[in-house]
Symmetry: C2
Subunit: 239 residues, 2 copies
DNA sequence: CGAGTCCTTGAGGAGGGTCAATATTCGTGG
DNA sequence: CCACGAATATTGACCCTCCTCAAGGACTCG
């Protein structure tokens, strides 16, 4: 496959496992996953799974970021979320026995582990605690999506953009702390991607970012955005 | 409590149980639920649970309809869904250990059974199959919400209203088949409620309904709406 | 260093929100 | 069953937010 190659990482050496769904599995369960999983590394812009196809297993993100989006009837992509290391993707489609409702595409160099359906289901059956964790995860996600739904239905673009920037600050803050020496965090996404998160046109994002820049809420440097006044954005977003 | 009174219905006499989450419980598990649950009947407009409060258990709808909505920062209500008999409410907040993100309010005379938290959790712990069912339900719901999110972000009000009418036709079709002799189904909701489903202003709903009426897609009689041309609405909604 | 991608800016206009005034319907009590 | 007040539906006018189209400029990456 173009842009991907194998980079095997055993689960018990995985740095993100302790934050993940898999934090409480037994040695033997981890060994079993290790035996059956396959790890790969992908360049920016690779599609890991495509809307409408059937899931064959789940993905666990080891490093990098993946945008999860759904394509609307007019071809525009709505970004549902940006997944970061430790997150598990694809289990919902697998469990609800339906095709992926969304596409997953890497936003940067990313390494993931793929666990085949059968092994995942087996773990689910044999370890009730694992099932409980998944259930809790899913229930929490529904709560978050409910908030998003209301926000999309009721808030103005400016409000939603403010909220999105705060969310992105967190998303891009996670491993920025590792790489960067300065404490400020920069968002590195195309304006179009931001528009597809907020649910608006690219030009509208650009114009409002411009205003926020004039109001000293953010700074921009080419594509990069730096959040300067999170509290004020918080207020603008009515959050 | 005003507008409510007890009307106990044992689970194994419950007509909606076979369609519900509880279809595969054992005799003894059902007996246990029966022993601890409390059933009540509520008039139209009663709030069963309120956004921001902590869940004390779950509700199972025996008859009637309940609107589930979230109040936005400007006080407008976004209706997330309309729950119908057989549906179970409140388990997500309970499991994710968080306050209700939404309010549940009866749309008509409704009877529900309330199962206290401890009994529900106990059933969940003791019956893995029950947990699996819940998990599958939650995962399916996330898929549906994803579609809604994209729709809200990308479709026009006219498109969303068309989709909403089709959804409401189903919702109001369920027990209409029991009551009504004619096969047509009537939606009986305030225009404001419809606006709060679609995510728009009441006046906009009225104007577009007017146009749809002129185009012979629907008929209206006072508050009541009758869907005449579902296929055409389907097409309008790009569904 | 060239081509492609992405960003930016402007002009114009449509969709849909808001406000206000009126008509109709609904639910309630007499 | 009828009448009344409150809630809801309707209509019109206005205008603001945001989308679309178009064109030029700036990055970025091979």
């Amino acid at each position: 496959m173009r842009g991907s190659n194998k980079t095997y990482i055993p689960c018990n050496e995985c740095k993100v496992r302790s934050h993940s769904l898999f934090d409480k599995l037994s040695e033997s369960e981890l060994d079993n996953l290790d035996y059956h999983k396959s790890c790969s590394r992908h360049k920016k812009g690779q599609v890991l799974f495509h809307e409408g196809t059937r899931p064959l297993g789940i993905y666990c993100i080891n490093s990098g970021k993946i945008k999860i989006y759904q394509t609307g009837s007019d071809g525009k992509n709505q970004i549902i979320k940006i997944a970061t290391p430790g997150e598990v993707l694809g289990y919902k489609a697998l469990i609800s026995d339906s095709p992926y409702p969304v596409t997953g595409e890497t936003l940067e160099e990313t390494s993931v582990c793929f666990i085949p359906k059968d092994e995942f289901i087996a773990t689910l059956q044999s370890n009730p605690e694992f099932g409980q964790k998944l259930l809790k995860l899913a229930c929490t996600e529904i709560g978050a999506m409910t908030d998003n739904l209301t926000s999309l239905a009721q808030k103005s673009v400016r409000e939603r953009l403010a909220v999105a920037l705060l969310m992105l600050k967190d998303t891009y803050g996670i491993d920025a702390a590792v790489d960067e020496e300065d404490s400020e965090i920069e968002i590195n996404l195309t304006r179009e991607d931001i528009a597809n998160i907020v649910g608006t046109a690219t030009e509208t994002v650009i114009r409002i970012l411009q205003e926020m820049k004039e109001d000293k809420l953010i700074e921009t440097n080419g594509r990069k955005i730096r959040v300067v006044e999170p509290q004020k954005l918080f207020k603008i977003g009515n959050y």
